[in-house]
């Protein structure tokens, strides 16, 4: 039974998972694994996972997995108080393959979710896994997978439960995307650091990026014209058409001149007033001191 659900993961969730993996307890049978709860909300055909927190767990020497339930509930209540719009939507586990323990953990989580949810039918619970082992198959990636557990069997009897994989998308709020861009610059520096950039520099960077994109588009158009074959990308052709249309209509010289003149006037006025305020504030200080 194919489920149309997609899972949209926010980058904060992935970063928290990596962080809790780095801080995992290094002893016992649970080494190299981190486990925790996912918070988010449900939309039509989409599960948005916006936050998560790690919880302590262990596997006893007899092979029984245990989770600290009180901890989980306390963290859940704390999270509810700060962000009431979120609810528990699943759990995460940093393993490469699903094991029998996952089944029991999933049971626990479905119990907890149904005890907290107000609806009568059980909302779908997602299991998110992150493979941190850098095995051969993953080729240096950190593959992220999401699963939904469903019943399956023959002749309307449920013989078994299967974890079905779901498509994963990365999405974020507007501010999160901006922050992610900034943080990703740290990937390229030697000390893995970034300094916060204000002022005109980000604009310069943005313009550089736009120039790169424009050059790429130009190259693509040239190639398509040279080969004279028409690939499936009529959508790109339409988009280019739209862009050129808007450019031609909106950037007509007289309209544009008016827009620029008016805005320039407004901005210079505001800038003048702001500087005036600063000057006045600077003047007040000697008066106060005297």
């Amino acid at each position: 039974m194919a489920s149309p659900l997609t899972v949209k993961v926010h980058p904060l969730v992935l970063l928290t998972m990596v962080d809790s993996y780095e801080r995992r307890s290094k002893k016992g049978a649970t080494k190299d694994q981190a486990l925790g709860t996912l918070m988010g909300f449900y939309e039509k055909n989409v599960i948005q996972v916006t936050d998560c927190y790690a919880i302590p767990f262990r596997v006893t020497p007899g092979g029984m997995p245990e989770i600290d339930d009180a901890f989980n509930r306390e963290m859940y209540h704390a999270a509810r108080r700060t962000t009431p719009s979120e609810q528990m939507v699943g759990w995460f586990f940093t393993v490469s393959d699903l094991s029998s323990h996952c089944e029991q953990f999933h049971n626990y989580f479905s119990q907890v979710v149904s005890s907290f949810s107000v609806r009568r039918d059980q909302p779908p619970i997602v299991l998110l896994t992150l493979d941190v082992n850098f095995t051969e198959g993953s080729k240096g990636n950190l593959p992220i997978r999401a699963f939904l557990r469903s019943e399956c069997g023959l002749q309307k009897q449920s013989h078994a439960r299967v974890f079905q994989p779901l498509p994963v998308d990365i999405e974020g709020f507007q501010g999160e995307n901006v922050a992610l861009d900034l943080i990703m610059k740290g990937v390229y520096s030697n000390t893995r650091e970034t300094v916060l950039d204000v002022g005109l520099n980000p604009i310069a960077d943005g313009v550089d990026q736009m120039i790169q994109w424009l050059e790429r588009i130009l190259k693509y158009v040239d190639e398509v014209l040279a080969k004279e074959e028409l690939p499936e990308d009529s959508t790109i052709g339409r988009r280019l058409n739209e862009i050129v249309d808007t450019a031609a209509t909106l950037l007509q010289s007289d309209k544009r001149d008016n827009l620029i003149k008016n805005s320039l006037r407004d901005y210079t006025m505001i800038s003048y007033l702001a500087n005036l305020t600063n000057a006045q504030l600077a003047l007040e200080d000697p008066i106060i001191k005297s």
Binding site: V18, S25, T83, G175, V195, L196, G199, G206, D285
Partner: protein
Amino acid sequence: MFRFTSFAIMADKIILNEAKVKTVQLDCLVVMKIIKHVDSEFYSGMSEVAGETCAGILTGLIAADDHRLEVTNCFPTPRSEVLIEGEEFSQGVLQNDDGKHTEITDMLKRFREMNIDYELVGFYQAHKFGACFTQEVIDSLVDYQTIFQDGVVIVYDPVRTRQGQVSLRAFRLTNKALELSISGDWSPEAVAAAKLTHETILEELPVVIKNSHLMNVMLSQLGLVRKTKPAPFLELGTRRSLEKSYSKYVNEKQRYDALLNSLIQKRQAENDQRAQRNEPPLSLDEIKRQLKVPQLLTRGGMMDIFLNASNAGAFANYASEVTNENIAKLFISESVANAVEESHTRA
């Protein structure tokens, strides 16, 4: 904002050492968490309703040899519920203070279980347009800095970030300001003796963001997977936020002016009063009554004036920076359009 009242009593006897920290280093996780908390509150519309801005606690550790404050994790503090009825409000706030305290200590205990650094190093708050200079922020900073000398407040400006530049700044009180706050004496004489201006109450610390290696791997992978959207700040229309900030700073400026004028008048009255005492007093009662009048009515004295001045300055700075950026954008678009026209006339 809550207060550690028991520690405030000890504060008189603490000798203030120089804060050893020169820069603040944030883990990328902290940046994302702060932004996510503030943005999701903005989405659900709560920031318009509640009285407090959304805030949270920072945890981490101090690297003494590098003079760095490393912030490795953070968590949001729940808001106190805003009750509309008048008398119940104050009681609710008092109970909430103690409740918040226990919640914070509980959370820190849980952090310790999960091997997360559990030492409090400061707090963060969200303020639009960067006008973060309120009395409660200063009070909280005083509390933090008397307990451990290196507490900071991180101010996040969601409006600026939405326009494309992440705006996270770290502040802490300067030593002189800290001494004055502890003694509670904000009269003009003490302030003049300490040579404080509204700019030197808070000092800003440079902020650096650091990733761990595994985070780098994850981030590079995210870079491949994400659909890149062009940054929103290249749009030309940002007038609405500018108007809001402009009107806000006009109000702030007026309040500041009014306070300043009243202060100056009172001081003049005091001076006249002292001149009069040299002459033989006609009736003692009248003079005693007059003596009481020139006291400063504002509780914080100079502090309020400074705060308003700093807020007005912050608004003005924001407005001027944004206008500069917009002027730059206008020139860019003009040159692009000129180039297009040239190519038209040529072809």
